[in-house]
């Protein structure tokens, strides 16, 4: 007797850490108690992307979206929805200013504006069952590629579709495949780069967790096109669940004869092995990744020769990002015309962004190229929480840059499709490779960090540079020394000892590191600093001359003062701050206004936290 209801419980890392599996178990127990286990099927799916409101569940076929479930809600849910057929309002998602909850998942703004290609099966399949994937036209594209298309036709399809590398550089995938196919040397290799070293980026993880088979099918099609014999999935060791799921998927693909010798008796011999990254960010760079797979120290090497001619074990190798591989099956299945309608003139298809930072709906979104920042942050992201003012957005992780939002009064350049420059507000900047590179940022893996007025741009620049400096392999002098020196300067500025010369030094060193570094890490490490310098120079100057941090993030520059009026009227001089202050720098009697002795004050900020009445003013 087929199931009448399917509960798609999200089992992405985010929801699982919020104990979504306990909710599933409770649901299962409850259904068995009610004898409904044969009517209601529970499916644990991959991550749906809306991590802010996890653990979440979608009840199919009517697509009801429940969020922030706890085991306590389960009895009511089963009783109301599954027995009586009435969805539970309380558990639905209600956008901030909206009057009522939105029952249907497709109506929720977070999901409505998205366009799913790489994440087409998320939430709809159990990633650990190949049957689910096949049910969703899984491996149809492979059959089409193996039986009806020649390798050249496959490459032609991908090229015409305009697919570009989702790893960050945006190199046209078709061109890369053709170069590797024509390169001399056997056997050929293809690699799925799942290193994803950017802090705050988790697109590849969720693709692995929610739909590993799409990656495998993409690689198989790629193998057919390029004539590769072996595939390697290079995945971060810090993604245990993703690692487990891709291994299960590979095992199942082998059992179904989709990997190994003479796949689907098409003559294609291809198998995939999994290599775990050792946690070095630099191993995201292709030559460093190859060194790591070969068991050598993960240092990048000079190019040429490019991996296409001499890569893994010196043989021609094609390296593509996880998301790139995931995009291949739909293109082959639906044809390049369908794909090239999505996105902008020069950046086709969709991009998965991890929306993090000061935005209400943090999570993973897949949006068509050309969407504007405003749509992304406000329509999908739900705006800035705590009605703080939107300040800037950081794209491309530590290799990317910061794009200011508040420069309304100044015309901002934008390269329109016809190549003309138009003054547009950055927020309406259509996001695609060229537009982001123009403004000094970089598409990168797709990390999008929203920052509000409480973010100190100097501190953000220092944070990202500290990351790349620490991750620098140290082989070439500019990156090794340059990043360290820039970090020292930034640290001095955040401590209030900066000078104006430091700014010129930052730019000079930044320029040299960007121009002369050996690999991508060095070439892009200065971006966060250079872009913040370009758009938020005033903040730097404030730090240097006024010795003040406008966002009060750099503690050494803050001075703490107690507002006597609030302290007495509302706080009646309660003295909490006096007690808690570790340096004993606060004096005052009951019902008397308290005072901070700035000489003793270590600017630790404890008083601000403990004062219930916000009497402490930070300048």
């Amino acid at each position: 007797m087929p199931y009448r209801v399917h509960c798609m419980v999200c089992a992405g890392t985010g929801c699982v850490s919020n104990r979504s599996l306990d909710v599933r178990d409770a649901l299962e127990k409850e259904l068995r108690k009610r004898g409904l286990e044969h009517e209601v099927q529970i499916v644990t799916t991959g991550c749906n992307g809306f991590c802010a409101v996890g653990p979440l569940m979608v009840v199919q076929p009517d697509g009801i979206f429940y969020q922030q479930l706890t085991t306590k809600d389960v009895p009511q849910l089963v009783e109301e929805h599954f027995v009586k057929g009435r969805p539970v309002q309380r558990l639905m998602y209600t956008p901030p200013e909206a009057p009522a909850p939105i029952p249907k998942m497709s109506d929720i703004p977070f999901f409505k504006h998205q366009r799913l290609i790489a994440l087409r099966n998320r939430g709809l399949v159990d990633p650990e069952k190949i049957e689910d994937y096949i049910a969703r036209d899984g491996y149809q594209a492979l059959v089409k590629a193996l039986t009806q298309m020649t390798p050249d036709e496959i490459i032609e399809e991908i090229t015409r579709a305009g697919l570009r590398g989702r790893g960050g550089a945006g190199f046209p995938t078709g061109v890369k495949w053709r170069k590797v196919r024509e390169a001399r040397g056997e056997p050929k290799y293809i690699i799925c780069n799942g290193d994803e070293g950017d802090p705050g980026a988790f697109m590849d993880r969720s693709i692995f967790e929610s739909d590993p088979h799409s990656v495998i099918e993409g690689m198989l099609i790629g193998a057919r096109a390029i004539g590769a014999r072996y595939g390697v999935v290079y995945i971060r060791n810090e993604y245990p669940l993703a690692l487990e799921r891709i291994q299960i998927a590979i095992q199942q693909a082998r059992e179904y004869g989709l990997l190994g010798e003479n796949i689907l008796d098409s003559g294609l011999d291809f198998d995939i092995s999994v290599t775990r990254g050792a946690g070095a960010f630099v191993c995201g760079e292709e030559t460093a990744l190859i060194a790591s797979v070969e068991g050598r120290l993960g240092d990048p090497r000079a190019r040429p020769p490019y991996p296409a001619e001499s890569g893994l074990w010196g043989k021609p190798t094609c390296i593509n990002n996880v998301e790139t591989w995931a995009n291949v099956p739909p293109i082959i299945l639906n044809g390049w015309e369908w794909y090239s309608q999505i996105g902008t003139e020069r950046s086709k298809g969709t991009k998965v962004f991890s929306l993090v930072g000061k935005v209400r709906n943090t999570g993973l979104v897949e949006v068509p190229m050309g969407i504007t920042l405003r749509q992304l942050i406000y329509d999908i992201g739900g705006g800035i929480p705590g009605d703080k003012k939107f300040k800037a957005v950081q794209t491309g992780g530590p290799s990317g840059g910061c794009i200011p939002a508040g420069m309304m009064d100044q015309p901002i350049e934008y390269v329109a499709p016809d190549g003309k420059h138009e003054a547009r507000d950055y927020l309406d900047l259509p996001i695609d490779y060229e537009s982001l590179t123009e403004v000094g940022s970089m598409m990168g893996s797709g990390g999008l960090v929203v920052m509000d007025e409480d973010t100190c741009m100097v501190d953000v620049a220092r944070f990202f540079l500290a990351f790349t400096q620490d991750e620098s392999c140290g082989a070439c002098a500019p990156c090794r020394e340059g990043t360290k020196l820039m970090l020292d300067i930034l640290t001095r500025i955040t401590q209030g000892h900066g000078t104006m010369d430091d700014l010129r030094a930052l730019e000079e060193i930044g320029w040299v590191v960007k121009q002369t570094s050996l690999c991508g890490l060095g070439k892009t490490a200065p971006n966060p600093v250079l872009t913040t310098l370009k758009y938020f120079r005033d903040e730097y100057i404030a730090h240097i001359e006024a010795h003040k941090c406008p966002a009060h993030v750099c503690r050494e520059l803050n001075t703490y003062r107690i507002d006597p009026v609030i302290c007495v009227e509302r706080g009646h001089g309660c003295g909490v701050c006096r007690r808690e202050c570790p340096e004993k720098a606060i004096f005052g009697e009951k019902n008397q206004p308290h005072r901070i002795d700035t000489t003793k004050c270590k600017k630790c900020g404890v008083c601000v936290d403990v004062c219930h009445f916000n009497a402490v003013i930070v300048e």
């Binding site: 000079a302 400096q469 620098s472 392999c473 082989a475 090794r480 020394e481 990043t483 010369d501 050996l518």
Partner: protein, 589 residues
């Protein structure tokens, strides 16, 4: 071939040439640090940055490892290039301000004062600037891969595995040689236990042993040469225009058919340490004659200066004659040469250390040669003290500070009939000349007998001193007995003359009286083989008979008498002739 444009000059270069190579071909100077002609380009320092025109502007690339492409336009002198090199250099100076190679480059590129100072700043002028030339040469050329680097980013350091002495290191010194800042030192003293005097020049594996080496050509020391250890390197092969270096050469044994052999195998020096009373090998500053000969040599370890072990010149020197010669329990014969070279030492030491006191202990001063006696009296006039008496023993002086290190020579001065003990700083022993250690084996090899003193036996001490009992075998020099250079030279020329005489004659006369084996009756019992003192009878295993080499046979007839089968006839004295003589002698009553 592909065409490239460097600083406006068109140039055809073969496929795969790097920009640096092309530039150097056009003698356009590009600074380099981590580049080394022997090593694969690495691109660590980025100093060799040049500007390459790109459709969308320009790109700064490193010249050392970027291959030229068709139609590439390269500029090496633009502002960007200068700015990039200057700042990269400033970054390195921030970390290593006092490294000479960087300072010199800074002067070239016009960097007055480094503006930055890194938190990890290292003031050491010999700091490691992580150019990794050492690691690369050890890996690519030497093939030992003994050093590498650890950690990452600013903390990256060149180390041996686990910071312990690496067994893979073949102590070849290549890393020290290519290190830009001499951060890696190379201490030859304690390395490989080579005797100190060999550690004069650079300790490369291919070297000329000493300035007077004969032949004066470099040779390879198999223990030091990397090629024999890791099958790598062979840089010497590459650089030698004459292509004269060949690692496969080994000792070859070549066989030459010769008619005559001159044995001039020389002598060995008696091991004085056997006479423990003299303390050779036990006490400091007790040297044998050959040690002093080496020390006095201008190319010797001390450059000809007479020095004690502590480097000071000696105040008093004792020279002891007849160490092991004219001695009941060692060599009974006199070694003939010691007296004269002892006097030579006395003279040279007086000359080199004028204020030193020289004592010469002798039994009989044998100045027998031409001009020898005159030299002896001259040495006496120069103030050498000669003491007639065999030295009993040499002992370390007392333990008081000022005596520390002096030696006491105890002997009985037979001229004044009193026991004497003379303090000296240095003792020179005149060791006896003894036959070569393998004299027994060589003698048997040539079927040569030895006189009781172990030297080779000449045919006749007076009448035929250079020939031996076997024709064609001659002996000359100390192999036949101790003698000095004039005598050795005389003997050598005598032997040469004798050999040339035979060669000149072209024919070897053999006297008619000799033996011959009739192979019809000989059954190869080999009784005769061992008899012949001239080993003239050889056994032919295949025909199972013996045969007499008529050139060697002297006709003594011993084998004729001994042959049980009567198969050997001795011409001139055969059995029937002798029988007839007997019958004649006994016919009359």
């Amino acid at each position: 071939m592909i065409t490239v444009n460097i600083n406006g000059v068109e140039r055809q270069v073969p496929e795969g040439t790097t920009i640096l190579q092309a530039a150097r071909a056009l003698d356009v100077s590009i600074p380099t640090l981590c580049y080394h002609p022997w090593l694969k380009p690495f691109g660590a320092c980025r100093i060799c940055t040049v500007q390459v025109q790109r459709p969308r502007g320009y790109e700064l690339l490193t010249a050392c490892n970027t291959p030229c492409e068709e139609g590439m336009v390269i500029r090496t002198d633009t502002d960007n290039v200068r700015q990039a090199r200057r700042v990269v250099l400033e970054l390195m100076l921030a970390r290593w301000p006092n490294v000479p190679v960087l300072q010199q480059l800074a002067a070239e590129l016009g960097v007055e004062k480094p503006r930055f100072r890194s938190e990890f700043c290292d003031e050491d002028p010999e700091a490691c600037i992580l150019c990794l030339r050492c690691v690369r040469i050890c890996e690519e050329v030497v093939g030992a891969s003994a050093i590498g680097y650890e950690d990452r980013g600013i903390k990256r350091r060149v180390v041996t595995p686990f910071n312990r002495e690496s067994e893979a290191c073949v102590a070849c010194g290549a890393c020290a040689q290519v290190c830009l800042t001499h951060h890696i030192k190379f201490e030859p003293e304690d390395y490989r236990g080579k005797p100190p005097e060999f550690l004069l020049g650079p300790n490369t594996a291919i070297f000329i042993p000493t300035p007077q080496a004969v032949p004066k050509v470099p040779r390879i020391d198999p223990e030091a040469c990397i090629h024999f250890k890791t099958n790598g390197c062979q840089k010497c092969v590459e650089v030698c225009e004459a292509k004269a270096v060949n690692h496969e050469m080994t000792d070859q044994e070549i066989e030459i058919e010769v008619g005559q052999i001159l044995l001039a195998t020389g002598y060995e020096l008696f091991d004085a340490s056997v006479m423990s009373q003299y303390g050779y090998g036990r006490l400091d500053n007790v040297y044998s004659a050959l040690d002093i000969e080496r020390m006095l040599n201008a190319t010797g370890p001390t450059g000809g200066r007479v020095l004690l072990k502590n480097g000071q010149p000696p105040r008093a020197v004792a020279i002891i004659h007849c160490v092991g010669s004219r001695d009941e329990n060692y060599q009974r014969y006199c070694s003939r040469v010691c007296c004269m070279y002892a006097l030579k030492f006395a003279h040279l030491i007086k000359e080199r250390c004028p204020e030193a006191e020289v004592y010469d202990f002798y039994i009989d001063m044998r100045a027998f040669g031409k001009g020898y006696e005159e030299f002896y009296s001259r040495v006496l006039h120069e103030g050498t003290n000669v003491i007639r008496g065999k030295v009993a023993e040499v002992v370390q002086a007392g333990w008081s500070k000022q005596d520390e290190g002096t030696l006491l020579v105890r002997c009985e001065d037979t001229l004044i009939g009193r026991f004497r003990e003379i303090p000296v700083d240095m003792v020179i022993l005149c060791n006896a000349i003894v036959p070569q250690r393998d004299a027994e084996r060589v003698a048997r090899l040539f079927g040569l007998s030895r006189s009781p003193d172990g030297f080779f036996l000449e045919r006749h001490p007076k009448l035929d001193p250079v020939a031996t009992s076997t024709d064609g075998l001659f002996v000359a020099g100390c192999a036949q007995g101790p003698k000095d250079i004039p005598d050795s030279v005389a003997q050598a020329s005598a032997a040469a003359a004798r050999m040339l005489a035979t060669i000149a004659k072209g024919v070897v006369e053999i006297d008619p009286v000799r033996a011959e084996i009739n192979e019809e009756f000989c059954s190869g019992c080999r009784v005769c083989n061992a008899l012949c003192p001239y080993s003239a009878i050889e056994y032919l295993a295949d025909k199972n008979v013996s045969r007499v080499n008529s050139a060697l046979c002297k006709g003594c007839g011993t084998c004729v008498a001994a042959c049980p089968a009567g198969a050997i006839t001795g011409y001139g004295f055969n059995d029937r002739q002798i029988q007839a003589e007997l019958e004649g002698l006994l016919a009359v009553r």
